[in-house]
Amino acid sequence: MIKKEMIAMLLAGGQGSRLGVLTSKVAKPAVAFGGKYRIIDFPLSNCINSGIDTVGVLTQYQPLRLNAHIGIGIPWDLDRNVGGVTVLPPYEKSTNSEWYTGTANAIFQNLEYMESYNPEYVLILSGDHIYKMDYKVMLDYHKANNADITIAAMPVPLEEASRFGIVITDENNKITEFEEKPANPRSNLASMGIYIFSWKVLKEALLKLKDQPECDFGKHIIPYCFSQNKRLFAYEYNGYWKDVGTLSSYWEANMELIDIIPVFNLYEEFWKIYTKSDSLPPQYLAAESHIERSIISEGAEIYGTVINSVLGSSVIVEEGAVVRDSIIMKNSVIKKGTVINRAIIAEDVTVGSNCELGIGEEVENTAFPKIYKGGLVTIGENSIIPDGVKIGKNTAISGITTQADYPNGILAGGGTIIKAGEV
């Protein structure tokens, strides 16, 4: 008989539209992070490090990269005879076929998957946060409280609390009230979107609310359980936890890794982060190269200058090029003499020679002011930037661009070039 005490369901179907061109072709959990990793590596590694060997990964938006990355789970030791990792896309049914319309709806559509492992507890995770967490400790806490639902929550500065779902607890951490993005928060404990459910409670709630449109954990399932007088507890988490949902926070989280002893340390023996690594040669730093405070991955070749940056595998920085305060993902090439300041450059991009990226004053992005801000230049994957162009701040480029796309050789601050139609 198959029996797993706790299985994890990892929600990885979202686009993450606030990451702009970075997620135009990949789901947010598949976006590269910290040089060689992808965002989903963090929850997956947390699972295996916590002793959870059965993980369902729910995919929907642009899943190719994610599927290829996860495979059968070998890098995380999740290739198991019983359990392991299973990718769960939406599927056609005899009646009521639908996409995943909400977080809880996605889980509901995979009731059979969960049932097949006969679990006592189900851990709900999202695939877009950077953190290390022992879910086993959270489970012990759940059991000790005889809880029906345990919600991981972390203290945030009170002035920022109005951006989060806030939980209000009694002296035993039992949740007494919820406030979704309150104007005047009465607590600073913000929900992290990590839940442990006792399986019976989850199943009952999912079935009860199965006709709820866009059924969501935060909006529907948790309030429903609360109204049924279930025992809800907050599990206070005080470690490093970073939501990389915006370009600025994504950029910051990468830059924080460069600190001498970063708060979020990838170099610790304990609690390793695993990822699918190709068999790659070491990196080569040429005689004329200059490196300061940077993280550089395998197979990279540096002939120019790299300062305060995070570089992915097999990135090439040619002679005379200067990369500063930037993130460059794998296989991208920065040609001779190009100067790059505060840029996020996705995978397989070629930036031509003698370009200047990130010049001039900060100007609000005209097309998508909410996405492209913080003075960053953002370039989507497989893009090509022609030789000798100048690109201002708060700009975005995606696709194969030519000199013709840059009047007078310039993309002024706040500009956007998104080539349509190319794949």
């Binding site: 040089g35 060689k36 460069i258 982060i273 690594s277 068999s279 070491p282 730093l285 005689a287 993280i295």
Partner: protein
């Protein structure tokens, strides 16, 4: 492919000095991220050989650990696989491998139970890329009994540590001398052989019945006039690492762009066991010139013309020059290391100085513990 593979990795010699104290030469770390045996293994995998045995007896722990899973070289298939064959006690044998031919004899079952008509034998200490199918085609075309892959050394290279061969115009080996005292011939055997499986079994059994144990002396040299032994000329990069100087030089070759591009960028790839180390990190004070740095390293000092293997830590104000720093080495602040090979898992205390002088490469082995310093 119609062949099985055998990698002879048993060897140790005094020429590697202290470096071979704790590992077989085939397990020597190479080029920052690899081990010597990866090159032969990747060649076999890329030549579509499905079944490979690595035969070893000298201090195999390091090698066994490296070969603990066959998946890195894609040998973990239903057909074939990767086998590590060490000497075992049996009803009719209680010896270690007494030579390469004896090693094959003790594993005759591996040869007999296979169905592939040919065998590719390689050594674990050669650094090269090769499609063994090309040798096999040549072998068949020449109707050879044994084909030996040979390499013409550059002028000035010492041939006397190799088997030296002379070929006639057709490519047949007319003379074969193992480790000659002096020679003016510079074509040497690379230790890669192609032979029909049944022929190999026959020769090995014959040698064993005469108490002969060495593949080169007792088969290649002894049969050179009786059997048709051909030489296949390899004209791409090849280097054997089995002396300290050759090991050092071969590693340093990877600082040259043409060598690096040949191995790292051209098809096919070289595979190795993948470790879960984060990317390399360069802090304040790091200054790295013309060097290879592997994953997991943290660099705070100067590194010049050197190869730094995985997970090394280089302290503040250090200088590492013309040196090889093997896996998991900790180098304390203010240390100076020049012309050295620093043995793996070493802890070099702060303010140390190690310099290899008069053209000698110094091997640094420090036994200090990392945590009570």
């Amino acid at each position: 492919m119609k062949a099985i593979g055998i990698i002879l990795a048993g060897g140790n010699n005094k020429m590697m000095k202290e470096l071979s104290n704790k590992r077989a030469i085939a397990a020597m770390p190479m080029a920052g991220s690899y081990r010597s045996v990866d090159f032969a293994l990747s060649n076999m995998s890329n030549s579509h050989i499905k079944k490979v045995a690595v035969m070893t007896q000298y201090n195999a722990r390091s090698l066994n650990q490296h070969l603990s899973s066959s998946k890195w070289w894609d040998f973990g298939r239903k057909q074939g696989g990767l086998f590590v064959l060490t000497p075992t006690m049996s009803a009719d044998n209680g010896f270690w491998y007494r030579g390469t031919a004896d090693c094959l004899y003790q594993n005759l079952d591996y040869l007999k139970s296979s169905h592939e008509p040919y065998v590719v034998i390689a050594s674990g200490d050669g650094i090269y890329k090769m499609d063994y199918n090309k040798v096999l085609e040549y072998h068949i075309e020449k109707k050879a009994d044994i084909t030996v892959v040979v390499k013409k050394l550059d002028k000035g290279e010492d041939a006397s540590r190799f088997g030296v061969v002379s070929l006639d115009d057709d490519g047949r080996i007319t003379n074969f001398e193992e480790k000659p005292i002096s020679t003016n011939c510079n074509t040497v055997s690379t230790g890669v052989y192609v032979i029909r499986r049944r022929q190999l079994i026959e020769l090995i059994e014959k040698a064993a019945s005469e108490d002969r144990y060495d593949f080169v002396q007792d088969i290649l040299v002894r049969y050179k006039n009786v059997k048709k032994i051909y030489g296949y000329k390899l004209d791409t990069y090849w280097s054997n690492i089995s002396t300290v100087d050759a090991y050092y030089k071969t590693n340093m070759d990877f600082l040259k762009k043409d060598v690096r591009d040949y191995f790292f960028k051209e098809y096919p790839d070289v595979y190795t066991k993948v470790d879960d180390f984060p990317p390399a990190k360069y802090n304040y004070g790091a200054e790295v010139k013309n060097s290879l740095v592997a994953c997991g390293c943290i660099v705070n000092g100067k590194v010049e013309n050197s190869i730094v293997f995985k997970k090394a830590y280089i302290g503040n104000n250090c200088t590492i020059k013309n040196s090889i720093v093997l896996n998991d080495v900790y180098i304390g602040d203010n240390s100076y290391i020049e012309n050295c090979i620093v043995e793996s898992h070493n802890t070099i205390r702060a303010n140390s100085k190690f310099v290899g002088e008069n053209g000698e490469i110094k091997i640094v082995i420090e036994q200090t513990s990392r945590y009570d310093a």
